[in-house]
Amino acid sequence: MLAIETEHLTKRYAGRTVVNDVALRVPIGCVYGFLGPNGAGKTTTMRLLLGLLRADAGMIRLVGHDLIQTRRDALAQVGAFVESAPLYDHLTGRANLDITRRLLGLPPGEIDRVLEIVDMRDAARARAGTYSLGMKQRLALARTMLGSPKLLLLDEPTNGLDPDGIIAMRLLIRALPAQIGGTVFVSSHLLTEVEQIADHAGMMRDGRLIVQDEIRVLLGGGAIVAMTIDETEAGAALLRARGMDAHPVDDQTIHVRCQDDALIQQTAMANRILVEADFIVSAVVPHARTLEDVYHDTLAQASSGERLAA
């Protein structure tokens, strides 16, 4: 069983397909980073997952429950906030939580339990309108945890937070799977942020899920060496002509992809080829592969695939 499973999930607005044939596979017990630039279709997908929008096609299953057939059973497994922390500013933090607690039919002690997790027991007596953005986000996170749902859907939980708030939220999210005994699905446009908290990731682009896997797997596939040289286009072309995987990044740097187990030999080989061809190599720096690289590589592959198809 998966925490989230979708098949052919599609949503159109005014003839434009904003979510296109998305097949999410989110395993139970992980933090899943749902990535993509603004406008990629992340929030629409989240709204579809919560039943806030009707899909034009496709199936959604949350923790084994079909969202269309058994909406209430499916949503009973889920805690969520979408886009921003939805709070009633004229009520206290505790009253905000109490509203959801009553609607879910939970005991009063549940409020203290979730406030403890986000460290807001004292602050919860104040009106939500007086909270900082970070506090609002934490209170909204506490609210999603009422009733111990097996799946948390958090849309841009670090949006608008200051650095301290981001660190606090990051620590909270990272600890959540152990605390709730379930899965956390986090959407974000911040790739580095997700890399620090997630163990699985999926990337959206123009409404399509272009890649998804364990982050460990996504970051594999070869190490990268950044070489600073005087003529990047010509240098990269020379290396490619000699069978190496090289491309210019800017007008001073080329990236050379090496096999993990042959990093040193291939780096030395690339350096030797360039020097013998009279290029000036001023720096050779191993570059740890990041989700940003994965994103750009996947986009490049997708673009070349589209060109080939055309």
């Binding site: 709204r47 919560l50 039943g51 806030l52 929008l53 009707r54 909406r71 209430r72 059973d73 499916a74 949503l75 009973a76 889920v78 969520a80 906030f81 979408v82 886009e83 921003s84 939805p86 709070l87 009633y88 500013d89 004229h90 009520l91 009253a95 109490d98 509203i99 959801t100 009553r102 609607l103 879910l104 039919g105 009106r127 609210r143």
Partner: protein, 241 residues
């Protein structure tokens, strides 16, 4: 359903909507007090309440206050992005909208009762200051019948206002509906035309002035319940943003 109703009442605590619901009904009482201070002879309680206070309330203040109140109730959810949260909970959607309607209808009933209370207080104080204490006794039976008919008859306009306030994220739409409806009702009252007697905003006025107000009350009440069912169905299918 009880929990959903409790939650809707709880949301009104400390809100502008609640402030409006308590303060607006004081206005007819204030007018009654000012009228009693400046009058040169003591009026009957019956003429104060059924000939002065209730007509002002039903023709102008009730529709305007209901428009403002439902708008503020709707904005509680829109400003807090509450729909995203509420509709993602494992609760039947119709319960959420029905609970809002019940609370708003109860609030409009409470406001009408407050109008009578404030009018009694205002007229008593005004009469004491002006030296012309109202005469006679309070017409309890007539008041109870009129208020019941008025509440039934205004159900349709309350539901229409709530529907507009919940359906549209902008506060402009429900206010336009409310102001437009009230202007029509005032035009009807001034021109004494019969063609618009069944217009929802005119029904309260007809209930106060027609020789037989029961058909108007039944039309407003039954029509309101039918509209309520349609509203709940529509909102349950609506995608809120």
């Amino acid at each position: 359903m009880i929990a959903v109703l409790q939650v809707e009442i709880r949301k009104l605590n400390g809100s502008l909507a609640l402030l409006l619901a308590v303060l607006a009904p004081a206005l007819p009482g204030l007018l009654a007090a000012l009228s009693l201070i400046s009058t040169d002879r003591a009026p009957q309680w019956e003429s104060i309440l059924t000939g002065f206070v209730l007509p002002i309330w039903s023709l102008f203040l009730l529709p305007m206050v209901v428009a403002a109140f439902t708008t503020l109730v709707g904005q509680i959810e829109y400003r807090a992005r509450g729909w995203d949260h509420l509709l993602a909970l494992p609760i039947a959607r119709w319960q959420l909208f029905l609970a809002k309607a019940v609370v708003v209808l109860a609030a409009s009933a409470m406001m009408t009762l407050l109008v009578l209370l404030f009018a009694w207080v205002g007229a008593s104080i005004g009469g004491a200051i002006g030296g012309h204490t109202p005469l006679g006794t309070l017409p309890w039976v007539k008041l109870a019948r009129t208020v019941l008919l008025l509440l039934a008859g205004s159900t349709m306009l309350v539901v229409i206002q709530l529907w507009a306030a919940l359906r549209f994220a902008s506060f402009v739409m429900p206010l336009v509906v409310g102001i437009g409806g009230t202007l029509v009702a005032m035009a009807v009252a001034m021109t004494r035309t019969d063609q618009a007697a069944w217009f929802p905003w005119v029904l309260p006025l007809e209930i106060l002035s027609a020789p037989n107000p029961v058909p108007f009350a039944l039309f407003g009440g039954i029509g309101g319940l039918v509209l309520l069912a349609i509203m709940v169905t529509d909102l349950s299918r609506h995608s809120f943003k």
